[in-house]
Each structure stands twice: as C-alpha cells, then as structure tokens.
Assembly symmetry: C2
Homo-oligomer: 161 residues x 2
C-alpha cells in the first residue's frame, strides 16, 4: 500500500541519500491531509453556501454559547488572523446577515459580534455536514486505531506549544 508521499520520499532519497527522511514521512502526510481536508470541508460547506473563513468565525461564536457574542479581539485570537482581516470578515458576515455588531456595554472602544438567528442556523447546518463528511473519511479506520491516532497526534502537538 503506497501513497503519493512514498513517491515524494523516494524522489528525495534518489537525490539526497545522505539524509534520514523519517520526519518527511510524517509531516508531509500531515500537510497533504490538511490540504485534502480543506477541499472536503469546502465541499461540505458549499451545500450551505458557507465559505471556510465564514465557518471559522461563525463556529467560534457558536462554541462560545450563551448569547453567541465575542469581541473582534477574541475572534482574532481564536481564528489566528490579523485585525484588518477580521474587520473585513465581520463586515462581510454582517452584509450577509449572519452576525451583527453591538457596542460593548463595558468598554466604549469595544464591539461585540453576535450571531443572528440566520447565522446560527447556517453554522449549525454546516457543522453537521462537516462532521458527517469527516465521519465518512474515518469510516475505514477501526475504533481502536482512531483512539491510537488521536493519542499520537496529541503527542505530536506538544513540542509546538
């Protein structure tokens, strides 16, 4: 059972047989999976007319629970984009009617971004479609392998923190 990363590693080995490419075996697969996953997500969301970046923002608000309100600053930290990008995203989500800007009652500089009912419906539908699509992609992997994989990925993440 070979995949495209095997081809890639073979090619590097032909050219650089002096290097141990075990790290490439791991991290190239992580990168490729992430790109493939983005495509799958885009497809799952398209049925709901939602873009990836829209889901990122709406999901952060949805996860917050309560009144589904977060400040732009908090959204910036959750989604890892710059403030200019977030201003632009909030503008466009407002134009689509998925969120609204409210003044922060505790800080007159501040703003609260709040999910509208349409926004909440959209993100809930998109999230269900996402989980369904991802479950499909996991179907071949037995339950034991899944927990093992999660554990290995968790450990792989620690040195980044």
């Amino acid at each position: 059972m070979r995949d495209e990363v095997d081809e890639l590693v073979d090619a590097w080995n032909r050219e650089r047989s002096d290097l141990d490419l075990t790290p490439v075996e791991v991290f190239s697969r992580i990168s490729r999976l992430s790109r493939l996953l983005d495509l799958a997500r885009r497809k799952a969301f398209s049925q709901y007319g939602i873009e990836l970046w829209e889901f990122d923002v709406l999901a952060a608000l949805r996860r917050a629970g309560g009144g589904y309100e977060l400040s732009p600053g908090k959204l910036i930290r959750e989604t890892l984009v710059t403030s200019g990008t977030m201003t632009n995203r909030i503008d466009r989500l407002t134009a689509r009617g998925f969120v609204e800007r409210l003044p922060d009652p505790h800080d007159r500089r501040g703003v609260l971004v709040k999910l509208t009912l349409e926004g909440r419906a959209a993100v809930d539908g998109a999230f269900e479609a996402l989980v369904d699509a991802e479950r499909e992609l996991l179907a071949e992997l037995p339950t034991g392998d899944r927990t093992q994989l999660v554990e290995l990925l968790r450990r792989l993440m620690t040195p980044f923190a």
Copy 2:
C-alpha cells in the same frame, strides 16, 4: 495531558451534545498541526532567505533530478496552484536568480524552468534546515510510535484519493 483541541471539543460538546465528535478529534489536530508546521517551516527557511512558496517550487525542481528542469505545467500539478500563480512565481524566482526559463526544444509553446546553481544551493540548504527542524519536533516520539503514526496517516489518506 490535554491540548487545545480538547478545549475545542469540550466547547462543542457543551453546545452540541447530540453529535459524536470523534472526527473532530482527529481532523482538527491535523489542521492545527499543519498550521503550526507551516510556522516552523517558515522559521527554518528564513535562515536561508527562502519563502514557503519558493521552497515548494524549488524543491519540485530539485527532486526531479537530472538537469533540474520541469515545465510550468508539471510544476502546477506538483504544487497545486493555478497557472497565473505559477507564472508569477517563476517570474519572481527568475528575478532572484534561482531559476531560468528555457524554451522547450520539443514544443514551441512550451517552457522549461531550470534551477540555477544559486537555486540549487538555496534549496539544498533549506531542505537540510527543514529536515533538521522537523527531526527536532519528532524527538519526543519513540521510533516505534513514529512508524505506527506513519502507517495510520497513510491509511487516513486513502479515502481522499
């Protein structure tokens, strides 16, 4: 041992206890690892003054071996970008002196992009730095776990193909 994805899944579970979030446990970690990895790569390459997109193109040429020549079309397929993007990248890499455009002797529409000596030196240095940095990130993971992880990732990739 908890990570940020545990927080994310907890938050979703609070709001959507009706859904089985096992897929999120796997794929959110893949996405985050990929983003963290991009940061680590950017850092490793910066010592050589190389951008991520530059490495993508130069590495494809380096892996090709031989005269280190590929057509723009082949580069497009290797790097998964559009033709407009590739034209622009080749222009900039040419301006930096890392590649040159040659006419394809077998097809007068065609072009061959060829690594210069500077380009080859740059990509070789960057690749070594990359493998070193990645090896560092794998240091905590015992050898047995690495092969197990590679095998699980390989199987995770199959449904995407």
